[in-house]
Amino acid sequence: MAQPLAPAGLPARPLRPSRLSLRAGRRLWLLFFLGPATLLFALFMTYPILSALAFSFYGWEGIGRRGFVGLANFVRLFATFPYSQLLANAFWHNVLVFILTMLVQNITALGLALLLARGPWGTKVYRVIFFLPVTLSLVIVGFLWALFLNPIFGIVNKLLAEIGAAALGRAWLGDPQTALIALILVNAWRWVGFPTIVFLAGINAVPDEYLEAARIDGAGEWQTIRHVIFPLLAPAVTIIVLLTFIGSFNWFELPYVMQGVAGPPNRATDVLSLFFYRLAFGEVDTGLQDIGIGSAIAVLMFVLLVAVSAVAAVLLRRREVEMA
């Protein structure tokens, strides 16, 4: 950048001090904008995480902290019944949520984005419709779908009966075989608009020359998608895969709203966050707190999320191609 010209009539300022004060000023601005966020982050994220880490090394009696116990809480979590089984069960459900969300929600989103990118009649309306559930409160979505799926008053079983398929009616949220799947589908219904918009933006960002060049080279529709659009969509995919991963392993609100903290029936919808919540805060009227084990679960979840996200970010980045 060229040196700033001094206005006519004023002596040119010496270079060094002005540069310094410029840098200092920029720092001040940075501090001004980042400071509050950092402070809030430290207060509501860093501090709780560190205190959970500390709590996990102590023994607990009710809500009272007792002596230092080293890794005893972790040992209990991994080695004693029912905690070891519950941990494996909840973890497996998080994995299932991730896999099925990738398959159902994100592939649907990609399909929708490809269709929308071709600009069919009413594109804007469709875009709004697909995105609408994302703007609804998750609590409302949960309550609504819990009502729809109610085996007696719910609309789902009534519709099935209406079309003569009453035998297909089920206790959707109370049947161990369907409860988790039902929750994953409701979650996908709520979220599908988000990856759709991200993918659509990615597709729209692909320069027209590339597509034209591909067409001139004789590439068909699928070949263009496969060899031109997909590689250039990699950054969007990275973001969506990571967000889906974090969302799946932090999954709490929807199962909490629709099923409560116990992950019923018989832990069929239990996930790590619910398992953590039950032990750290207790279940109303039925279960007691075990803050030591609760904190141990929180620490494990944090380590898992950070480690996997970091590795995945690096691996997925490598596959991305620059739109030079």
Partner: protein, 409 residues
């Protein structure tokens, strides 16, 4: 969170000459009744005012824990019983009471007082407010319509349910989506088959476990009820159960005595009564499960200990108990209270042969609680994924984490 709670800290609310006590509770729906009872107290104790502050039930424990661990909290605390009380008493947050402070407690039922004591030190930490009993509610109109009467034996019970079902009436409103409603169901049905208090004594002393055929045999009886619930009962939650009974879509509802007030408030025309789960043989008086619902306690750190003790003593008087029972349609824990509600009166009569609600009274002292273990295993059993024997084995194994006698059984 702490900042939000500061205004409730008693120290901030002291006036000149008069003392204001704060009273935290999870019973938001009962505030009107507590306000009236507090007025009576205030008239008799000039210079002391009490403010009743309710919180959302599901958040109450978290808010109370946060306040107490921060050295704050109210002066008077609505507390649960048994293990839910121990959570707060064991670390020393609740002031111990004795017969000198509250002489009225000497006359309380011993079974109920068990729920007001610390398990570790045996001291009394609260004044019990109500006892709850698990019963079978029935709709008199639907019973008459189907031409059935209150059963005297288990076989008759199954028989009337078949009649109801044949006449197109859903016999049982109960469901299994929420595990705790299944624990309640087991609390109603099981005691007559496992032998009530004899088994309770044996299992709490570690002389037997939940693998005992007496217990697993009783569990199997629950499976006999499945044909008389909605075919998709595993998806029926608590609210739906209540709706089915309130809207007269189901003839019976197996639940706790705490429903009486709610049923009356929701449907004034509902003509209902209760009976105890019938025994095997006619003529035997049936067992009912009952328990201490909770206690009023004092914050160990209150600056107004004298005044708080006065209020706590008031809650143990017959005057308080009578107002409590009359206004809230609950079985007051205070002895000698005259129950006017006819249904509640039946409950009180059944309580003459009461046995402790087994998991709450005996096995909710440490995590994993017997309730948590049983509720989940029952969901699996009712959904056809586990046998009664597997339920007994799982509960025993889970409890062996802290019940020494179950280890290696």
């Amino acid at each position: 969170m702490l900042l939000l709670l500061v205004p409730f800290y008693p120290g901030a609310a002291s006036g000149q000459g008069s003392v204001k006590l704060t009273f935290w509770s999870w019973r938001a729906e009962d505030k009107w009744a507590y306000d009236k009872m507090i007025q009576v107290f205030q008239q008799k104790n000039p210079g002391i005012t009490v403010e009743f502050i309710p919180f959302k039930q599901t958040e109450y424990n978290t808010i109370l824990s946060t306040a107490l661990t921060g050295g704050k909290g109210p002066d008077i605390i609505h507390l649960r019983a048994y293990g839910g009380l121990e959570t707060f008493t064991a670390p020393g947050y609740i002031a111990a009471l004795d017969y000198e402070t509250v002489p009225e407690l000497k006359n309380f039922s011993l079974t109920i007082m068990e729920g007001a004591k610390g398990r570790k030190d045996g001291k009394i930490y609260g004044v019990p407010f109500a006892s709850q009993t698990i019963v079978i509610y029935y709709n008199k109109k639907l019973f008459a319509q189907a031409g059935v009467t209150v059963p005297k034996t288990w076989d008759q019970f199954l028989g009337i349910m078949k009649t109801l079902k044949d006449k197109g009436i859903l016999p049982l409103a109960n469901g299994g989506k929420e595990g705790w409603t299944l624990e309640v169901l087991s609390g109603a049905i099981l005691p007559n088959f496992y032998g009530g208090s004899t088994f309770f004594e044996a299992v709490t002393r570690g002389q037997t476990s939940f693998k005992d055929p007496a217990y697993t045999g009783a569990l199997a009886k629950l499976l006999e009820l499945r044909p008389y619930m909605n075919p998709n009962f595993m998806g029926v939650d608590y609210a739906t159960m209540q709706q089915l009974f309130l809207n007269e879509q189901a003839a019976m509802f197996i639940g706790g005595s705490w429903e009486i007030g709610f049923f009356r408030a929701q449907n004034k025309n509902l003509d209902f009564d209760v009976f105890a789960s019938p025994p095997v043989k006619a003529g035997t008086i049936p067992w009912v499960s009952s328990f201490n619902d909770g206690n009023y306690g004092i914050n160990a750190k209150t600056p107004y200990m004298e005044q708080a003790k006065k209020f706590i003593r008031f809650t143990a008087t017959r005057e308080f108990g009578q107002m409590f029972a009359d206004m809230l349609a609950q079985n007051s824990a205070v002895p000698g209270v005259v129950i006017k509600d006819p249904v509640l009166k039946h409950v009180q009569e059944m309580n003459r042969k009461a046995t402790p609600y087994i998991m709450l009274v005996g096995f909710r002292w440490q995590a994993p609680t017997g309730s948590t273990l049983l509720q989940n295993a029952l969901q699996a059993m009712m959904a056809g994924q586990k046998t009664p024997e597997q339920v007994g084995e799982e509960v025993t194994r889970g409890l062996s984490a802290w019940v020494d006698a179950f280890r290696g059984r």
